[in-house]
Amino acid sequence: MSLTLEQVRQIAYLARIEIGDAEVASMSTQINEIFLTLIEPMLAVDTHGIEPMSHARDLTQRLRTDAITENDRRDAFLALAPETEAGLYLVPRVVE
């Protein structure tokens, strides 16, 4: 497997990271080397019948009661945002 520059651009788009021409070249070289030397050898291992282990311990999800546990701290949280107005987060216009 070897990722083309176009594939790396597409992945960067999916990850919402702008990537320039110089960066896409160096990034794809590094990623291809990581796959080739570190990751690809794993693909040949026979794992037929092995259940994927998705977590460090085989836990079942705990349920909690549907109770209010947080106070209203709207102002404190809004104060951290780059841009707010009238108690709302501001982003560039999405709907004309």
Binding site: I17, I34, M42, E51, M53, R57, A79
Partner: protein, 491 residues
């Protein structure tokens, strides 16, 4: 005072030989003097720390104090602390003043410990050298041209140079154990789920686990007593009976305190890739363990060589998901100039993340994408189970697995940063433990050319007590853990 362990400082505070304000001032002064050489701290706020120390002194006066009341502790900058800059080593959060406390910070606050400062780390804990930090690399006090290890490099550098008596850290692929080894300290990564991840900024959630770095195993037990415990706000927190890790430490010490202990030596840990000086010191340490009564036998972890590939697929996949929250909308960095909303996202994330974070996000996005998910992500999860099965097989034969923590001593700053493959291979002995969710400890076991070497002790689930007690027995008859780097030995 810098010769005192955390445990000794705790006693000195309890007996009022020293006040928390005096102790906190002592360390703040050392930070002011030495931190420019080490870059171990991202944030220090003397006013806040002294206020906490004053409150601790009042509490000590009334006799309502706990073992860590008044003790200054350095906190890794991954733990949200209300009112403190919590940057996680990233430009993305370089303006983030946390509006809440992580569980770990809550625990230390409830105990009356003093927050001495926030320590430097690799960006979002992604790194093995501390060089990916937005704030520049922390430096190793044993040789300031070298890395302190990572990702908890600032925590380790701070404790090694006695800028703090102890520090917190987190470990996703070795980030507590590897810097402990490289800075000559003792650190323990507990069983996954023992320390709450609430408010601990997520990198790879199925692997991340908090723990302490200090001089001695006894100090680690004291810290773990405060850090461990069930927390319903972390959905993977284990509802496990709370242990007293201090009480479990042997109070008596005879000739053969470890009689009956079976040590497994995995042959895969001593092959190609492990430096001769590291191998030598680790074998010497195992000889010490045998003198303490333990028995050593060779074991095999046949899938060990697959832990690095499985880790980089799983950790990157989880990172790409976890780091999707940084969008420039609710908190953190936002690009100064942008067009539409998509442009705002892509510019914010391009400018806010460093090269290593981007690389892992891209790898993670790829292995989770349509058509590649089965081949990479599910295959990595299947290998994860093979690795966990190797350990459970091994623990049928032995009680503790021992081997090197890191294949080399601390390398030079800049030596590996341009070569991600070499950098990733420096975690070859620590990663498997995270995949399996096991507890593991690193403690100093020797030096080579004035650089510390660590031995790693891996135990079965919930064997923290046994690991701490075993290391403590070693530390009763050796003094590697008490050595301090000369340039900072100037109390």
């Amino acid at each position: 005072m810098i010769a005192h362990t955390l445990t000794q400082l705790s006693r000195a505070l309890a007996s009022r030989e020293i006040s928390s304000v005096e102790l906190t001032r002592f360390y703040l002064e050392r930070i002011e003097r030495h931190n420019p050489k080490l870059n171990a701290f991202i944030t220090v706020d003397p006013e806040k720390s002294i206020a906490q120390a004053k409150a601790a002194d009042e509490r000590l006066a009334t006799g309502r104090a706990g073992p860590l009341t008044g003790v200054p502790i350095a906190q890794k900058d991954i733990f949200c602390a209300m009112g403190w800059l919590t940057s996680c080593g990233s430009k993305m959060l370089a303006n983030f003043i946390s509006p809440y406390d992580s569980r770990v910070i809550e625990c230390f606050n409830a105990e009356g410990a003093v927050l001495l400062g926030k320590t430097n780390m690799d960006e979002f804990a992604m790194g093995s050298s501390n060089e990916t930090s937005h704030f520049g690399s922390a430096r190793n006090p044993w040789d300031t041209e070298r890395i302190p290890g990572g990702s908890s490099g600032g925590s380790a550098a701070a404790v090694a140079a006695s800028l703090a008596p102890a520090a917190t850290a987190t470990d996703t692929g070795g980030s507590i154990r590897q810097p402990s080894a490289m800075c000559g300290l003792t650190g323990i990564k507990p069983t996954y789920g023992i320390v709450s991840r609430y408010g601990m900024i997520a990198y790879a959630s199925s692997l991340d686990q908090g723990g302490p770095i200090a001089r001695t195993a006894e100090d680690c037990a004291l810290l773990l007593n405060v850090m461990a415990g069930f927390d319903e706000r972390d959905s993977t927190s284990l509802d496990h009976p709370k242990e007293d890790y201090m009480r479990a430490l042997s109070s008596t010490f005879d000739d053969k305190p470890l009689a009956g202990l079976k040590i497994g030596i995995p042959k895969e840990f001593f092959g190609e890739g492990c430096a001769a000086n590291v191998m030598h010191c680790v074998m010497e340490a195992i000889a010490v363990y045998r003198r303490l009564g333990a028995e050593a036998l060779e074991i095999s972890l046949p899938n060990m060589h697959l832990s690095v590939p499985a880790y980089y697929v799983i950790a990157s996949a989880e990172a790409s998901s976890n780091l999707s929250r940084f969008d420039g909308v609710r908190y953190g960095y936002r690009a100064p100039e942008y067009g539409d909303i998509n442009d705002m996202y892509v510019k914010t994330r391009a400018q806010g993340f460093g090269a290593e974070a981007k690389r892992r996000i891209l790898i993670g996005t790829y292995v989770l994408s349509h058509g590649y998910y089965d081949a990479y992500y599910l295959q990595a999860q299947r290998i994860r189970r093979l690795i966990a099965n190797d350990f459970s097989g091994a623990f049928g034969q032995c009680d503790i697995i021992m081997g090197p923590t890191s294949p080399t001593t601390a390398f030079r700053i800049g030596e590996k940063i341009a070569d991600p493959v070499q950098m990733y291979l420096s975690d070859i002995y620590t990663i498997a433990v995270n995949l399996a969710g096991l507890p593991a400890l690193s403690h100093p076991c020797g030096f080579s050319e004035s650089l510390p070497i660590g031995i790693q002790l891996i135990g079965n689930y919930f064997s923290e007590t046994r690991l701490l007690n075993t290391a403590r027995c070693f530390q009763q008859i050796t003094d590697w853990h008490l050595r301090r780097p000369a340039p900072f030995d100037d109390a």
